[in-house]
C-alpha cells in the first residue's frame, strides 16, 4: 500500500488513528469515534453519526399528530414514554386543551418508571463497560419488573406509544397500582445493593473519579443536559424549571453535583433513581378518577409555532412544531438531549487514556438513535 501524506505526517508525530465503532460494545449503538491516539493517549475524537438516520423529522411532515407520536418512541427508545409525552404536551399546548388529572398522574408515573428502567440499564452497561459484569445481571433482573408492568398496561415492553395527544391510548390495567406499589417496595430494598456492589468499589472509583472533567460553563455552552449536565452543577431539570404533568403536585429534589467528573455523573443518576421512587410513591396511591382521553373532534394545531420541552432520562427533549393549521405539522424539530450530549466528548475525553474514553462515553449515557433521528 502506498503511503499517503497523512500517513507520513501521523508517523512523524507518532500518532495513529483507530475507529471505535460503528459496531462496538461500548458505543451502545451504531456510532463511530474516529480516535487519534499517541501511544495510549487520546489526542482528539471526531464522532461520526448518521448510521441510523431515518429522517423522522421529514417523515413526520406527512403524518398527522397522533401518527407521528409513534416515531418518537424510536428516538430515545429507553425514554419512550417521555418522548410521547413531549409531543402530546406540545400539541395540547397548541390546541389549548388540558388533560384530566388522572392522565397527568399516570403519565408522570410511567415517565418515572421509564427513568428508573433507563438508569438501571445504564448502570448495568456502565459497570460492564468498566469490566464489572455482575452489574448487568442485577440491573436487568430489576428492569424486567418495570417492563412487566409496562407490558400489562400498554401491551409492549420497549416502545409503547401509550401517551398520545389528548390523553392515553387506553386506561391502565386494574393491576397497575398494585404492581407499581410492589415494585417501589422491592426496588427500595435493591437499590442499596447497587451501591454496595459498584459505587463503593475502590477500582471503580479509581476509574471514574477525576476522569472526564466537564465544567459548568462547558456543559451550558455545549447544551449538555440531563444527569450529565447536572453532574457539572448545571441546574437544567425541566421538571423543576417548568413543571409539567403531575410534577407540580409532588415534592422531589433536583440532584446536582459540582465535581463534573465521570463519578459525579454516575452519582447523580444513582440518586435520581431513589428520587423517582419518591415521586411514584407520592402519586401511585392518589390517582384520581376521570377519563383517560379527552373527547376531541380532530387533533389539529392552529397556525403558529409551539415549543415544549420535557425531561427524559437523558436530558431536555424539546419539540418545536411549526403549524399551518392543518392536521400535519409544516415542520417538526426534535431538540434531542443525546445530540448535544455527544459532541462534548472531544472536549472532555481528549488527553485521557483510551480506556477512560469508554468510561467517559458510558457516563454520558448515549442512545444513538436519538442522535441520528
Amino acid at each position: 500500500m502506498e503511503e499517503t501524506l497523512l500517513d507520513i505526517d501521523l508517523k512523524d508525530r507518532e500518532e495513529y488513528i483507530i475507529n471505535m465503532g460503528p459496531q462496538h460494545p461500548s458505543t451502545h449503538g451504531v456510532l463511530r469515534f474516529e480516535t487519534c491516539l499517541q501511544g495510549e493517549m487520546v489526542k482528539y475524537i471526531i464522532p461520526h453519526c448518521g448510521y441510523i438516520h431515518r429522517g423522522i423529522e421529514k417523515m413526520s411532515e406527512s403524518l398527522s399528530y397522533p401518527q407521528l407520536v409513534h416515531l418518537t418512541d424510536r428516538m430515545d427508545y429507553l425514554s419512550a414514554h417521555m418522548n410521547n409525552e413531549a409531543v402530546a404536551l406540545c400539541v395540547e399546548k397548541a390546541m389549548e386543551v388540558e388533560v384530566t388529572d388522572r392522565v397527568k398522574y399516570i403519565r408522570t408515573i410511567l415517565a418515572e418508571l421509564s427513568r428508573i428502567a433507563s438508569h438501571q440499564l445504564w448502570w448495568s452497561a456502565f459497570g460492564m463497560d468498566l469490566g464489572a459484569l455482575t452489574t448487568f445481571f442485577y440491573g436487568l433482573r430489576d428492569r424486567e419488573r418495570i417492563l412487566d408492568i409496562f407490558e400489562e398496561t400498554t401491551g409492549t415492553r420497549l416502545i409503547q406509544t401509550f401517551i398520545t395527544p389528548g390523553g392515553l391510548m387506553n386506561d391502565v390495567h386494574p393491576n397497575f397500582q398494585k404492581r407499581v406499589r410492589e415494585f417501589v417496595t422491592y426496588f427500595r430494598k435493591k437499590l442499596p445493593e447497587y451501591n454496595q456492589l459498584l459505587t463503593g468499589n475502590v477500582i471503580f472509583q479509581e476509574r471514574t473519579k477525576g476522569i472526564g472533567y466537564m465544567s459548568k460553563e462547558v456543559a451550558i455552552s455545549y447544551g449538555v443536559t440531563g444527569p450529565s449536565g447536572r453532574g457539572s452543577g448545571f441546574h437544567c431539570d425541566i421538571r423543576k424549571l417548568a413543571p409539567y404533568s403531575a410534577y407540580p403536585f409532588v415534592k422531589f429534589n433536583e440532584i446536582t453535583a459540582t465535581e463534573g467528573d465521570t463519578f459525579a455523573r454516575y452519582w447523580v443518576r444513582m440518586q435520581e433513581m431513589s428520587e423517582s421512587l419518591d415521586i411514584i410513591d407520592q402519586l401511585v396511591d392518589n390517582i384520581p378518577q376521570g377519563d383517560y382521553m379527552l373527547a376531541l373532534k380532530a387533533i389539529k394545531a392552529p397556525k403558529g409555532e409551539f415549543y415544549h420541552s420535557v425531561e427524559t432520562a437523558r436530558g431536555e427533549l424539546g419539540v418545536f412544531i411549526v403549524s399551518d393549521g392543518g392536521p400535519n405539522p409544516a415542520r417538526i424539530k426534535y431538540r434531542t438531549p443525546n445530540f448535544s450530549n455527544l459532541f462534548v466528548i472531544n472536549k472532555i475525553a481528549a488527553g485521557h487514556k483510551i480506556a477512560d474514553l469508554v468510561a467517559i462515553s458510558g457516563s454520558l449515557d448515549l442512545v444513538i438513535p436519538d442522535i441520528d433521528r
Binding site: 453519526c49 448518521g50 438516520h53 429522517g55 423529522e57 421529514k58 406527512s62 399546548k93 460553563e217 462547558v218 451550558i220 455552552s221 455545549y222 447544551g223 448545571f234 441546574h235 437544567c236 424549571l241 403558529g304 409555532e305 409551539f306 415549543y307 420541552s309 431536555e316 424539546g318 418545536f320 411549526v322 409544516a330 415542520r331 424539530k333 431538540r335 445530540f339 448535544s340 459532541f343 462534548v344 472536549k347 441520528d372
Partner: protein, 151 residues
C-alpha cells in the same frame, strides 16, 4: 426579564427588528447582517446573559428559509427567540454563531446537511448524517428523490 422587556432590549440593539409569531416566548425577526453582533451582545450583557442556546433550527417557508434560535439565560431564566429570514432559496447563507455557543457548531452542521444552508465562519462545515456524495437537501420542501413514498 419578561417578554416586553426582552423585546424592548432587542429593539434598542437592532432598531429595525420586527416582532415574531411566537406567543410563548419573546421573539424578534432581525436582519441577517446584524445577527452575530446581536447574539454576542445578548450573551455578554449583564442584563440578558443568554448563555444557553438550546435549539437552533431552520424552517422552509414560502418567503425563504427561517433560521430560528432559541436561547435562554440559565442565570436569569428568561427565554428569547431570534429569527432570521434568508430570502435566497438557491444559495442560502448566514453567519455561524458557533464561536458564541459551542453546541451551535453541530446544530449548524445538521442544518447544512438537511437544508443546505451555508454558515460563514463555521470551523468544520461538513454533512453530519448523510453521506458526503448525497444529492440534495432532504428537509427542503422541494426535495424529491426516486424512492420517497409520495403522499
Amino acid at each position: 426579564m419578561n417578554i416586553e422587556q426582552l423585546t424592548a432590549w432587542v429593539t434598542a440593539l437592532v432598531p429595525d427588528q420586527k416582532p415574531g409569531v411566537s406567543k410563548q416566548f419573546a421573539e424578534c425577526i432581525v436582519p441577517a447582517g446584524q445577527l452575530h453582533q446581536l447574539c454576542k451582545d445578548l450573551r455578554d450583557n449583564r442584563n440578558t446573559q443568554m448563555d444557553y442556546l438550546f435549539c437552533e433550527t431552520a424552517v422552509d417557508r414560502k418567503d425563504g428559509f427561517h433560521m430560528v434560535y432559541h436561547m435562554k439565560s440559565t442565570i436569569l431564566q428568561h427565554t428569547l427567540v431570534i429569527r432570521v429570514i434568508l430570502t435566497d432559496k438557491i444559495n442560502p447563507e448566514v453567519v455561524s454563531v458557533s464561536d458564541l455557543w459551542h453546541g451551535a457548531e453541530f446544530f449548524e452542521r445538521e442544518i447544512f446537511d438537511l437544508f443546505g444552508i451555508r454558515f460563514t465562519n463555521h470551523p468544520d462545515l461538513r454533512r453530519l448524517f448523510l453521506e458526503e456524495d448525497w444529492v440534495g437537501y432532504p428537509l427542503r420542501k422541494d426535495y424529491k428523490d426516486s424512492f420517497t413514498l409520495e403522499r
